[in-house]
Symmetry: C2
Subunit: 358 residues, 2 copies
């Protein structure tokens, strides 16, 4: 079983400078590589404490590439709606070369109304922009003299440089949350999948994953070669009660910042984002206590977390947990502790290579 770490910044400038935040994340990344984790992932968001320290995941992942040897570098995700495909495909190909082929490219639609407003892009078009952006990148990476005639972008013939390191192109992943159509589409196209399970019930997640896998099996790719990353808040300490108590502080901090970022949804409703008009209510209902009870977070002693992982594998099959290791404005030392304890005491139970010593 593979495990990754996942930086979803939830800090404000008043709490921590960008320089300190990136220094800490890069230190965790360097150490995760030594400890045998499989991947590091980061997100694309703007303006809010929720995600705002990561307006460009490629920039952070390029720094991460330089302090690691084996770790896969995962955009989780890039947003085609906010960049021209020639720019996006080009910089991702640079990172793929700089890292000697360690890039995994996750794409997403984005869902914060205020971001679409700033980029003067309609949310109504976001699925079409997402589909078109993936298609444009895929073609720019794998073909030469590309003539592209999309709804939003028309260009060519052009040959993107540099050519990607991985052939025909870096693995493509898509981010999906609620919508059955997204899971079906990802599978049908043979793309890998990244999901955030904690906003849905276990039954709903299992159903969506089945839909994805069934479609993947018919995509022409070998069934079982699909990869699925699932994001989980992770907080571990030797003292399980302390872990649960402290975890709540950072989970609630994270949730409060998320609520600020999504507050515009209380004023929006669109067929293109079915159910999002209830997002604010849904997040408020999702308490830390519920998340703990329903194993939607990995919190506790190493032994407790190992059991939580076992349960997730039983429910969802072979997936890669992507651990949000420094959610909320958590002290760096707490994130370091979770990272070390997970590697030393949880990973060996799942056949992951034994943690390196330093």
């Amino acid at each position: 079983m593979r495990f990754g770490i996942n930086f979803f910044p939830t800090v404000s400038p008043e709490e921590k400078s960008g320089a300190q935040f990136y220094d800490e994340c890069l230190e965790l990344t360097r150490r995760a590589d030594e400890l045998g984790y499989n991947s590091v992932k980061t997100v694309e968001h703007y303006f809010f404490a929720y995600g705002g320290y990561s307006p460009d995941p490629v920039t952070f992942l390029t720094a991460a590439a330089m302090v690691t040897k084996d770790l896969r570098l995962v955009t989780g995700a890039v947003i085609p709606a906010f960049s021209h495909p020639c720019k996006l495909a080009g910089k991702l190909a640079m990172l793929d070369n700089i890292s000697h082929g360690r890039l995994d490219v996750g794409f997403a639609r984005a869902f914060l109304p205020d971001e679409f407003a700033a980029f003067q892009t309609s949310m109504e078009e976001s699925r079409d922009r997402f589909n078109e952006g993936i298609e444009a990148c895929r073609r720019l990476w794998s073909e030469t003299d590309v003539v592209f005639k999309g709804k939003f972008h028309q260009f060519g013939p052009v040959t993107m440089l540099p050519r990607p390191y991985q052939k025909p192109h870096p693995p493509i992943w898509v981010a999906a949350t609620f919508t059955a159509e997204s899971f079906e589409w990802a599978g049908r196209n043979g793309y890998n999948l990244m999901i955030v399970p904690y906003v849905s019930t276990r039954e709903k997640v299992a159903e969506l994953l089945k839909l994805y896998r069934d479609n993947y099996a018919q995509s022409g790719k070998e069934p079982g070669t699909e990869q699925i990353q699932m994001s989980y808040h992770c907080y571990i300490a030797e003292d399980g009660e302390a872990a649960q108590r402290e975890g709540k502080l950072y989970f609630d901090d994270y949730t409060n910042k998320l609520l600020v970022a999504v507050s515009a949804w209380s004023r929006h409703k669109t067929d293109q984002y079915k159910g999002y008009e209830h997002l604010v209510e849904q997040i408020k209902r999702n308490t830390y206590e519920d998340a703990l009870r329903d194993t939607k977070v990995f919190v506790g002693t190493p032994a407790q977390v190992a059991e939580q992982i076992a349960m997730v594998r039983e429910w969802y099959g072979e997936v890669e947990p992507s651990l949000q290791i420094n959610f909320g404005n958590m002290p760096h030392e707490a994130a370091q502790r979770s990272l070390e304890l997970f590697a030393a005491e949880v990973m060996p139970k799942y056949g992951t290579r034994v943690a390196a010593t330093v």
Copy 2:
């Protein structure tokens, strides 16, 4: 006197992979930092052997930040016409933080018709997009709750994250070539200047620099605090005749690749780029022999190059030569040799700190 290195890729995938090219550039960058160079710079271009390996200078410079301690990281330049300002300001602020304040941001208009065509942006608007892009970045970096009402972009109130490391923002540079208006504008706004002198006569360059400095002195900034970087092809060997002979190979290779990229100018003419309709002819007229004779390149023994630098300083005053150290499809070892010889035998004559030994 300060000296920098400057990567203007001029290689095709048939000649060298992206991975090899970046590995070599990062090795030169790491060594330049040890040797006491001041800066590393790279460009934004697409699709052609001329520049195409650098579709996103921020990505390369982020990798460069991770292998250096003191080197200034210079975008030479980013193109506001091809990115949304919220994306551009955000990722530059990330790099400023990751590098702990070593970022210098050069902006340019771009000048290749095929790039504008791919980005579906009119060249007629390029000056307005350039001005607006700089203004938007400057405000996003230095103000909070920015409400921006430009000709091309309207957004806000938004607060860009992360906040830049350098306050109020990273130093702003502008790229200028022929046009008097550009030099005047850069000075009047108190921006630093980056120029490519080899397409103009010495007298013309001196005149444009005077225009810039006169305007800078009236910008409200302290006269003499302006910074000017000038790009020069650089090729050094102990054997001066070999240097001149081999330098021609790589210069001609560079020029031939440049001619492919600018070929669209033989079919264009616009008041917004006065004189560019003659660009192809002008580049063809500019032979290597002329460039050598007129000290528009630094080529020869270390002693000869030291004299060339003296001349440039006499003509133009205090400027920072930005050395194109691996122009054309030059072998890596040749670039390494130029880098080492320049540091060991030229820099000490100009008061630059003595090269570190390894």
